[in-house]
Symmetry: C2
Subunit: 289 residues, 2 copies
């Protein structure tokens, strides 16, 4: 089965269980709405690619680790879109959850997806229980405080902010969790995989900043220019458009060189190259990554 | 160390770690504000009492299980108080988190506490990793969908609702998790402890309904009469005040009889009796529980 099929079929099964009785119908519908159809699923693809490169001896646990990361990502998008944060009407090309449903359902959808993300790791780890402590610790660290998404988002409420720390917390942490958890789920040491996750996360944030500046709103399916409007840190405002694109290419080259020697190294390099091509703005794709 | 000291000192340590650099200062302050000073800490006391009754062979894991439950409870209170739900200005006798800080900080505080609740179980379980899968599954089930707090809260967005199912999801599920997780953390089978959790949870909800009806707002530190104002399900509106109090006493007697035979059975009965006395409305305390 292809990586993307494994991710989608696991998500379908996890969401099917979450919507069983006695789930309230509106919230159940909102969970499905917020997860399907997905975006590029970059994070779970990265996690599962690393699991496969590491031997993938427990595919059920690898799938759950990948999907747990995607669910935390979906939860953060739902909450980020709320009126008290970005007040975004559109996400992935359709009305955001609080617009399609309402604010209570959006708050609860995010909460429920966070809980489900952890729960599926617990449910899937009985064959290898000793892999669960580091999986849970990695997911909690990447989502929470002081090193995760919540911490990054919280910095937006502060009067001043460090660009690099902000990006690392809000975006990088979940990419690092993706490579770490992909390795742990397959029984391998996560540490050699840290740089790959960190670099792809950084590249992803810079690419998003470049897209934001170019206002290619159709591609990312959400209103653009938000960072500028809200005076948030952004690589383009710091380095200029050319500087930001140069930085993006440097980061992605470094990501590929950082991949540790392993059984599935060549396949993983190819997957990362493909992801890199997706990240590169249309006008600059001709340059070789 | 007393049960309450173990809970408070574990909470202090967990929150201290969550506020380390690079935590954003406002969000860090809000986490502390939302957890200290606490309410009655009924759920973690129940969990830790069960762990002790089961032998408490890993006090660190028992403490973390108890505190994980309390953090999920605190998170649900913060989100329930938001303007889009109860719009409550006061919680535990002081301004609610979104009033003392703001809505973004309140949403993030809840999210972060949920993540931290799971994370501390991962961090504390290395000595007994095989206990972690059922601990995580129990916490996820009790907080999420379709069997947990999110599911219960989601039913408030539906046009019609089943009183008993609603209470079981919104309140009962976390009490059942408390007894289950208390037993699992101490290496015991959780199933014999289910009835104790279910009955105390039911009692707690009925007691809250009775207090709500009596409008003893100083005791519970939040505005009362909310259920009536919002036409939410309530044992007093269904059974009358006398009927609800009678039901409360029946449930608590059943809770005490349900305690399984174990080393610490007598101590646990005494703890449950004390909790029961706290739950019983002032005017009815003279009756023997």
């Amino acid at each position: 089965m292809q990586i993307s099929d494994r991710i989608e079929s696991t998500l379908i099964e996890v969401l099917r269980r979450a919507r069983l009785e006695p789930a309230p119908p509106k919230l159940a519908a909102a969970l499905n709405y917020s997860v399907f159809p997905g975006g590029a699923r970059v994070r779970p693809q990265l996690a599962l690619s690393v699991s496969i490169a590491c031997g993938d001896d427990n595919p059920n646990l690898s799938n759950s680790a990948a999907v747990a990361i995607e669910l935390i990502h979906c939860a953060s998008l739902i909450h980020d879109d709320l009126p008290c944060f970005d007040d975004a009407n559109v996400r992935r090309g359709k009305p955001s959850v609080h617009k399609a449903f309402d604010e209570p359902i959006a708050v609860l959808s995010g909460d429920a997806l966070i809980m489900i993300a952890f729960e599926i790791l617990g449910i899937s780890s009985e064959a290898h229980p000793h892999r669960l402590p580091p999986l849970i610790a990695a997911l909690g660290r990447s989502g929470g405080m002081p090193f995760g998404i919540c911490s990054g988002q919280g910095w937006e409420s502060e009067p001043s902010i460090n660009l690099s720390a902000y990006h690392q917390l809000k975006t990088g942490s979940l990419f690092v969790a993706a490579t770490h958890m992909g390795a742990i789920a397959a029984g391998e040491d996560p540490e050699p995989w840290e740089e790959l996750g960190a670099r792809i996360g950084e590249a992803f944030q810079v690419a998003d900043d470049v897209r934001d500046a170019l206002e290619v709103s159709k591609e990312i399916g959400k209103p653009t220019g938000q960072d500028l409007a809200k005076n948030r840190p952004n690589a383009v405002t710091e380095l200029g458009l050319g500087g930001a694109i140069e930085k993006l290419q440097d980061i992605l080259s470094g990501a590929i060189s950082s991949i540790p020697s392993c059984q599935g190294e060549a396949d993983l390099c190819e997957i990362v190259r493909k992801q890199a091509a997706l990240l590169t703005p249309i006008n600059f794709k001709k340059q070789n990554l």
